[in-house]
């Protein structure tokens, strides 16, 4: 419900406020079978401009009913992520990922300090007392990123004109550390781009 609402809001904003010197990019992501893929992250890295660092940005990865929400969270490098625990039991949050290795010892509520993700890459998080809890944070070195909804689409907006490398990533990519790339030149008009991702079948124990 929450996700749908956010998506709707995002769409409304995208449609309602186009920038004058920038263009939007509509992205659709499907799997090899042509089905729309949700939870895919697509981000555009400018080949000309320097990578931007987020400053003072805070993102939230909730823990609700022994699940991380959202399942996939894209953030810009430098973002601080808070892990509020909304359950009445303690949780641990850990990651052995090279992009960010950390462990938040068992805590309740908002006791855990925020974690700063200062390196681009994929961070896989779990809870060491709840094997089924799983979440991904994609740390992108660009402010232009978005995540697909159930329809498998997203919109990147306010892209300055220029050359971009558009990357698509999904937790079930055959090689999770290698996003799928497409080069693109953004002009004055809004563009469109489509990704077809080769995904592993969903694992039994995986999220949802």
């Amino acid at each position: 419900m929450d996700k749908i609402l956010r998506l709707v809001i995002a769409c409304l904003i995208g449609v309602a406020a186009p920038a004058l010197d920038a263009a939007g990019l509509t992205v659709s992501v499907t799997d090899s079978a042509g089905k729309p893929v949700a939870d895919a992250v697509v981000y555009a890295v400018s080949e000309t401009g320097a990578p931007a660092q987020a400053r003072g940005t805070i993102a939230v990865l909730d823990q609700i009913d022994k699940e991380f929400v959202p399942f996939v969270l894209p953030v810009q490098v430098g973002t601080q992520v808070r892990f509020p625990n909304q359950d009445n039991i303690r949780h641990n949050v850990y990651s052995f990922s090279p992009a960010k290795t950390f462990s938040l010892e068992l805590y309740k509520g908002t006791a855990a300090p925020p974690v700063t993700f200062d390196k681009a890459g994929v961070v896989v998080m779990g809870c060491n007392i709840h094997d089924k809890m799983l979440a991904y944070i994609l740390v992108a070195d660009t402010p232009h990123f978005a995540k697909t909804g159930p329809a498998g689409t997203l919109a990147l907006k306010d892209l300055a004109q220029g050359q971009y490398e558009v990357r698509a990533w999904h937790p079930r990519l055959i090689d999770m550390s290698q996003p799928v790339l497409q080069k693109l030149t953004v002009g004055a008009a809004d563009g469109k781009i489509a990704f077809t991702l080769a995904l592993k079948p969903e694992r039994k124990h995986s999220h949802k």
């Binding site: 809870c127 060491n128 094997d131 809890m133 694992r203």
Partner: protein, 581 residues
């Protein structure tokens, strides 16, 4: 067929033969059944064993799998692995591997690179089959197989190390070795051998619960067998029969590993052999018992029968002085009673016959025996002979009674012999006189002729006796004989308790009268026979007609003749009715 001399032998042979036959049949049947049963038992055990065997290996794998899964979930373990420090990872593998009882542990990266392993010395690279296993584990969350590591088979399982997505793959395994075979033997109660079946040559035993010596024999035996068919097969190892079942171990990569389960037929038969020994003992006991039984029954029959036969033989010889035991209640007892009664009857009859023979003439006695006593007369033609001593009273006066009896007995014996030699029957003694019959009680051939011959024989015998008397200085005896042939009444006469066989009638009186005539010296003869007798005789005699005499009781006078010899003896023809006087 062998012939038995005794009933007992036959009985014993029959009984023993029958009992033995039954026992042999029972024995053979039981034995065959037991053997079949034992084979079926083993076959069932082998089939079950093959199934259980897989289950046992599966269970063991499962047990290891659970342990390793818990191990892989251990956060400290994950932390150690994530450290990326190979010596640390290796030591944690050794430490945790020992915890779960694995013979081998390996950690493999997502990129299928061997990170660390426990065997010493360490492996150079990931064993080939492991790549396949990890691929399977990626799909199914786990994988297991028997793989070859440095030429030794291991049961290996692969599980992901989740953090919480797979960050590496952990492999753990146990070795297929003698210890495992021994453990499995304990569970299945079957000989367990793991082996490599090669395309060519004898199979190679990898591990076994068998002693070393047996393994070589098994290898040789297996080399001769066709490829395994998952069916029980009989083989011989050192002349001991085994049933074996060879099956392929599932989930094997590389050279196929087979497992041979086996059990000794001998061992399986052991309880049956005990049973067989018992049956043997019982059979022998039964045989012995039936032998005694047969002998006992045989004796109980043959002994009285033999006694009976012996007794019968004695009776045959005229010995009636015996009595059989009659204290038996059965048929043989009845037989003994009947036999005793029979002997008693025979003895009585014999006694009667012998007594009778002395009292009456033998012919009369036999007639009485044959026809019984009939108190009735019959008319028949009989030649009656009367003989009497002359002047014996005078002879007696000068002699002792002893002398008289001796002389008289000698006389009677000689006369009796002469009469009986000619087929006559002494009817009775009348003091020193004799009455004899020819033609009664049984009619014979030429009774009249035989009577005349008897008279001549008597006369001759007396001459002989007189010569003997003279030699002792005794005076001679003189005799007169009268013979007549006539129809008389013959029969047993008297009361029912005492009777005499005799003849009565005028003819008898005439004979007596003719005997009296011989006293007349004018006739100069010892023997006077009536015309009727001379005429009835078929033989010829030297006779002399004495004319007619009137006899008391006879209306017509009777023609009489003096008889002096046998015509055949004299060799001349004599006119029977020659004139005399």
């Amino acid at each position: 067929m062998f012939r038995f001399k005794s009933f007992q032998g036959r009985l014993v042979f029959f009984f023993l033969g029958l009992v033995s036959l039954i026992q042999v049949i029972v024995f053979v049947t039981v034995d065959a059944t037991n053997l079949t049963h034992a084979r079926e038992q083993i076959e069932t055990a082998l089939d079950l064993g093959a199934k259980n065997f897989r289950r046992l290996i599966e269970a063991r794998t499962e047990q290891l799998s659970e342990s390793v899964r818990i191990l892989a979930g251990d956060f400290a373990f994950k932390t150690a692995i994530a450290s990326g420090d190979v010596p640390t990872v290796r030591s944690v593998l050794e430490n945790h591997g020992a915890r779960v009882g694995a013979d081998i542990m390996m950690l493999v990266s997502n990129e299928q690179v061997l990170i660390a392993d426990t065997p010493e010395p360490h492996l150079d690279a990931l064993p080939g089959p492991m790549q396949v296993l990890i691929r399977v584990a990626e799909q199914r969350d786990r994988a297991r197989a028997i793989i070859d590591i440095r030429g030794e088979p291991y049961r290996v399982l692969v599980l992901p190390v989740l953090a919480p997505v797979p960050i590496a793959w952990i492999a753990a395994g146990f070795k297929i070795d003698d210890r495992l075979a021994g453990d499995l033997q304990q569970f299945t109660k079957l000989g367990v051998s793991f082996l490599h079946r090669r395309e060519q040559g004898a199979p190679r035993i990898i591990a076994s619960s068998l002693p070393m010596k047996r393994r070589g024999e098994l290898t040789q035996a297996l080399a001769l067998l066709p490829p395994p068919t998952e069916k029980a097969t009989s083989i011989e190892l050192q002349s001991e029969e085994f049933l074996i079942l060879e099956s392929r171990l599932a989930g094997t990569s590389g050279a196929p590993i087979g497992v041979v389960l086996q059990r000794s037929l001998e061992e399986e038969m052991a309880p049956f052999r005990e049973l067989r020994n018992s049956v043997f003992a019982l059979s022998a006991g039964g045989l012995l018992l039936s032998l005694f039984g047969a002998i006992f029954i045989g004796r109980s029959v043959t002994r009285p029968v033999r006694a009976l036969a012996l007794a019968a033989r004695r009776v045959e010889k005229g010995d009636y002085n015996l009595k059989l035991d009659t204290n038996r209640q059965d048929e043989l007892g009845e037989l003994a009673v009947a036999f005793n009664n029979m002997v008693k009857g025979l003895a009585e009859r014999d006694q009667v016959r012998s007594v009778l023979g002395k009292v009456v003439s033998r012919a009369v006695a036999e007639d009485l025996m044959a026809h019984g006593i009939e108190l009735r007369g019959e008319e028949r033609v009989v030649t009656v002979l009367f003989a009497d001593l002359r002047n014996f009273t005078g002879f007696c006066e000068q002699r002792t009674p002893q002398e008289v009896v001796t002389v008289l007995n000698t006389y009677f014996t000689l006369m009796g012999d002469a009469i009986e030699a000619n087929g006559g029957v002494i009817d009775k003694y009348l003091g020193d006189g004799i009455m004899a019959l020819f033609g009664a009680p049984v009619a014979g051939e030429d009774d009249a002729g035989r009577a005349l011959s008897a008279a001549l024989a008597m006369s001759l015998a007396l001459d002989g006796m007189n010569a003997e008397l003279a030699s002792r200085g005794l005076p001679p005896l003189e005799i007169g004989i009268g013979i007549n042939t006539d129809v008389v009444v013959a029969g047993n006469m008297g009361s029912s308790s005492r009777l005499n066989y005799t003849v009565i009638g005028d003819g008898v009186n005439v004979a007596s009268r003719l005997e009296g005539l011989t006293k007349n010296p004018a006739y100069r003869t010892r023997i006077i026979a009536s015309e009727a007798t001379i005429r009835a005789s078929n033989r010829k005699f030297v006779t002399r007609a004495l004319g007619n005499v009137s006899v008391k009781g006879k209306s017509a006078p009777v023609a009489v003749h003096a008889v002096s010899g046998s015509a055949e003896a004299q060799g001349e023809s004599v006119d029977r009715v020659s004139s005399g006087m």
